[in-house]
Structure formats: structure tokens, C-alpha cells
């Protein structure tokens, strides 16, 4: 069965979620992955969206972070102040699952500007919930497509903290949680070195070679000596994901969500 790089990325991201984990879900690819996990191996995963929906079980993927679908089938819907204060800052989130425009070698995230802040070359949407998700969840996963433009040596702007300058910089900063423990891309999976905290390539997807990944990375990417190849998507995973996207497409009147 053939599959697209995006499907590969989504399925690999989904596999990381364990049943019963509490996941604060970013919109787009994280949402697709988290819901795929819920519909396959992790039926009791708890999905929290910043719009205030706790235990969301959308039948189709939301296009926005606050679609009615999220509220309709949630355990409860609380205010936005409450979701950030009692639930995220309160330390109840196992995994913060984020997308990003750019990351650097220490898994810091930029979603603010490219170029100088005062006169940006490209103005990005901004922080949203990410700075506090990144510093409050027990761990953080980031998922984005890997290119030289998205994996950069040095960010123009750190919106949300990964490991800052590496080493023990994050611990010293007062951030809580372990920080970004995995970056899942369309080419493979990266994880921080235990000591330096620099992102290291730990897995490639089937058919991807290391040079391809290096070429899509804006710094001299280190490769784990235990590099593995991720298992290809199973038929069940692919079927479930495609069903989900097909349902979503129908429900949104031709607009795909979660991508």
C-alpha cells in the first residue's frame, strides 16, 4: 500500500501517544495525529484543545481550534482562561503536541517573525498557546515538514522554548517539564541528545536516506548510532486515517482539516 509523506508523518506521530495520556493538541497535523491515535490504539487518550474542550472526541477533524465538533463530543467545555490556568498551568498535561513554522537545533520554536521583529520580512501568526504549552507540559512533541527553511541553524525569534542554548539551559530557565522529547517530520524522527540537548536524527522513515534528511536540515545534523527505520504504516492505520480525512472533507464541504 502506498502512502504520502504527510500520512507517514501523521501515523508516526500518532503512534507515540499512549492510551490514557493527556494531550494538549495543537491544530493541524498534531490534531490529525492525536485523533488517529484515539481512533486506533489509544481510545482513552484525553485530548485537550486550547478552546476549552476537555476529552474531545471529534468525529471529523476540526479546521480551527474551536470547531463545534470539538465541543459537541467533549467531556466538558470550559472557558479559555480556565483551560490555560487550571489545566495547562495546573500541570495536568502529559504531552504538548505542537506544530511550528521553524525550529532550531535545540528545538526552540519560531512562529512569530522572519527577519527583525520591528520590520519583519515575514510576519507569522504569533505565539498562540505555544509558549506556555512548551514550558508546562510534562513533555513536548513537535511535528512539521523538514526543509532547510523550517529547520534552521539559528532562529530570528524564539517564540516558545525548547532547550534554549542547549545543555542545562532549559532547566536553569525555570521551564517545567522535559521539553521537546521528539520532533516528528515527513523524513524521520529527531530527539535531543541527553547531554547537549541538540536534536539528533534517531529514525528515518522507510525509503528515506540520511543524506536526504541532512539536505533538508539547516545545520550539520548529527545522526544517532542507533538509527532505526520506522515501521511502514499498517493497512489499518492508513485506512483509519483516510477514512478520517474523507469524513472531514465531506463534513467541511470540501475543506480538509488537520493538515
Amino acid at each position: 500500500m502506498s502512502y504520502t509523506p504527510t500520512e507517514l508523518m501523521t501515523i508516526n506521530a500518532a503512534r507515540k501517544l499512549s492510551d490514557g495520556q493527556v494531550c494538549f493538541v495543537g491544530i493541524g497535523l498534531p490534531s490529525a495525529a492525536a485523533n488517529l491515535a484515539r481512533l486506533t490504539h489509544a481510545p482513552e487518550v484525553v485530548l485537550i484543545y486550547e478552546s476549552g474542550t476537555i476529552g474531545a472526541r471529534p468525529d471529523v477533524l476540526p479546521l480551527s481550534i474551536g470547531d463545534g465538533e470539538l465541543a459537541e463530543f467533549a467531556d466538558t467545555v470550559v472557558s479559555v482562561p480556565e483551560i490555560f490556568r487550571y489545566w495547562l498551568q495546573g500541570g495536568r498535561v502529559d504531552v504538548g503536541f505542537l506544530g511550528a513554522a521553524q525550529i532550531d537545533r535545540f528545538a526552540n520554536i519560531n512562529t512569530t517573525v522572519i527577519g527583525p521583529y520591528a520590520s519583519p520580512r515575514t510576519r507569522l501568526p504569533g505565539a498562540g498557546g505555544a509558549p506556555e504549552i512548551a514550558s508546562s507540559a510534562r513533555e513536548v512533541w513537535i511535528t512539521l515538514r523538514q526543509t532547510k527553511r523550517s529547520f534552521v541553524d539559528r532562529l530570528d525569534f524564539i517564540t516558545s522554548a525548547g532547550f534554549l542554548d542547549g545543555g542545562d539551559a532549559r532547566e536553569r530557565s525555570g521551564a517545567r517539564g522535559a521539553g521537546p522529547t521528539a520532533v516528528i517530520t515527513d523524513l524521520g524522527v529527531l530527539a535531543p541528545d541527553p547531554v547537549t540537548k541538540e536534536l539528533v536524527l534517531t529514525a528515518v522513515h522507510p525509503g528515506i536516506d540520511v543524506e536526504q534528511v541532512r539536505a533538508a536540515t539547516g545545520w550539520d545534523l548529527k545522526v544517532s548510532s542507533d538509527l532505526v527505520v520506522t515501521s511502514p504504516p499498517t493497512e489499518a492505520e492508513l485506512a483509519c486515517l483516510r477514512d478520517l480525512h474523507a469524513r472531514t472533507l465531506r463534513a467541511h464541504g470540501g475543506e480538509a482539516g488537520g493538515d
Binding site: G52, A71, G126
Partner: protein, 297 residues
């Protein structure tokens, strides 16, 4: 107080929003007061400080039409689609005029509204650890906990001159019921000096529709309540109509180019008398897919 809260949206915007005001139109994806945004544009309000966690289409419109001199926000984009181009054009190229920005995170904006609603001058949070945002925003400071010595972020309360929200129902006394994703609707109203609520439906008594713990804003905390069915479109009103995802997507092409944007606004917003006119006007071009048919003809 048994004063008359119900009014037309035109009157409410005219009497309650003035040039130079700080105005917060809120609605977290859900219940966005789009009709009120149009009316602000029609009445050519100028020099507004716009406050909103997620500036999207309504603020793209106001900014592109030259109504705003300052924006306070935490995420500016077209959710699920991409950029909002008038916002970017204003920041990147000062068109049609410079737009000063004050940028926070969602958790912070929510906390700032809470502080504003609570009569406190500032909000305290665990936030911005390692982020560059505090370097560019003097309104993000840090304090020490007087008990543990921990370092915490703090920011000033938001108390807008005017809050504007959309909601599902109001009764004749102006009591408002909000359900579903309630966002910061309650907080922004309680934080503001004046407030306008547009609603889908006017009912006799909100108590016949609200449970004990429903989110209700009593009429006596509001300045004006306006009956504007469909007034959240292209956002949605839970129980009334769905989010118009196709419209959000279409907006990308409309707003990408300055002239296309201006022509579109001229025709559909400036060229119509009210939100009902707007609906008919865009529906005629097949641009509304979610509102009840009677609103579109």
C-alpha cells in the same frame, strides 16, 4: 436595572464606540461578532486600538479599511487556512497606515482579561520562559513570589473601553446566554467599560433556556444587546449554524490583493446598509454556505 438594553446594532456602535477607543471584539473561533465588525467599518471608526486574542477576518477587514492604529493580540491568522493578508500588509508594509502591535501569548491574554474582570491591576502567570516576546514587549515583566521566591511573569490587566461579543440568546431584559465554546466572552465583557452583545435570538425569559450553571451575563452588566441573526458568520453559533470553512478559505484570495480587497469591501460592506444586506450581497455570489436561507435572500 430595568433600563432598555435592546437596541439596533447601528445605534449601539454609534453611541458606544468612539474614534480612538480601545475595542475588544472577542469570540474564540466560536461566536465572533462579525456583524459588529462590519458596522464599525461602515461607520468609519478611526484610530482604534483593537484587542483580540485571535485577530482573523474581522480584524483583517478593519485594519485593511484603515480603522486601527494599534493591535493587541496573541495569534493573528486565518485559522486552518494561513495568513491574514491585510494584517501582514499593515505590519510588513504599513498599508494603509502603520499598525503598532503589542503581542502576548494566549494564556497571558486570557489572564489579562481575567485580571480586568476581577478589578485587579495585573495578572500573574507561569509564562514566557525562554521566549523572546518579553524583549519586545515592556508590558511583560517578572516578579518574585513573596513566599517561594519563584520568578513569575506578570502583565497589566486589560480593561477595554468597549467589549463586543456575539452570543446565542438574550431575553427582553437583556440577559444573555452563551453556550458551547465560551472562550473569554464573559471575561471581556466584565473587563470592559462598555459592552455590546449581538445575539441570534431574542426570547421571553432566559431562565426558560438556561440551566443553573449556564454561562449567563445579566443584562445589568451590559450596555447594549442587539438582535443580529447570523451575526457571527463566517464563525458559527452553536445550535444555529456551522462554521463556514469555505468562506474562510475564500477570504485568502479576496484579501491577498489590496485592490481586490477594497473592491470587495466596498461592494459587500460599505455598499450595504446592514448585516442582512451583507448576507444577501455575498450570498448572491455564492459565498455563504452555512447561514439559514432566509438570511440570504
Amino acid at each position: 436595572m430595568a433600563t432598555q438594553k435592546l437596541s439596533t446594532l447601528q445605534e449601539a456602535v454609534q453611541t458606544l464606540i468612539h474614534d480612538g477607543d480601545s475595542v475588544a471584539l472577542e469570540g474564540f473561533t466560536h461566536l465572533i461578532p462579525s456583524a459588529a465588525g462590519h458596522e464599525i467599518i461602515r461607520q468609519k471608526k478611526r484610530d482604534l486600538t483593537l484587542i483580540r486574542m485571535t485577530p482573523d477576518l474581522i480584524y483583517d477587514m478593519i485594519i485593511g479599511m484603515g480603522g486601527a492604529s494599534r493591535l493587541v493580540f496573541s495569534w493573528g491568522g486565518n485559522p486552518g487556512v494561513g495568513s491574514i493578508h491585510r494584517f501582514r500588509d499593515a505590519i510588513e508594509r504599513c498599508w494603509p497606515q502603520p499598525l503598532a502591535i503589542e503581542e502576548h501569548s494566549h494564556a497571558d491574554m486570557a489572564a489579562r482579561y481575567q485580571a480586568g474582570a476581577s478589578g485587579l491591576p495585573f495578572a500573574v502567570m507561569r509564562g514566557y520562559v525562554g521566549s523572546d516576546l518579553p524583549r519586545h514587549n515592556p508590558n511583560i515583566r517578572f516578579i518574585e513570589c513573596p513566599f517561594t521566591g519563584e520568578r513569575l511573569a506578570c502583565t497589566p490587566a486589560i480593561n477595554p473601553d468597549v467589549a463586543v461579543i456575539h452570543a446565542q440568546k438574550a431575553d427582553r431584559k437583556g440577559n444573555v446566554l452563551i453556550s458551547g465554546i465560551v472562550g473569554v466572552q464573559k471575561e471581556v465583557v466584565l473587563a470592559a467599560r462598555r459592552s455590546i452583545v449581538t445575539v441570534e435570538e431574542i426570547v421571553d425569559d432566559i431562565q426558560d433556556h438556561a440551566q443553573m450553571n449556564s454561562v449567563v451575563l445579566p443584562g445589568w452588566v451590559l450596555s447594549a444587546v442587539c438582535h443580529v441573526p447570523g451575526g457571527a458568520h463566517p464563525s458559527y453559533a452553536h445550535g444555529y449554524y456551522k462554521r463556514d470553512n469555505a468562506f474562510y478559505k475564500a477570504w485568502d484570495a479576496i484579501a491577498r490583493d489590496r485592490d481586490t480587497f477594497l473592491a470587495w469591501m466596498d461592494k459587500h460592506v460599505m455598499g450595504t446598509a446592514d448585516f442582512a444586506g451583507f448576507c444577501r450581497s455575498v450570498a448572491a455570489e455564492g459565498l455563504i454556505g452555512t447561514l439559514p436561507e432566509e438570511l440570504c435572500r
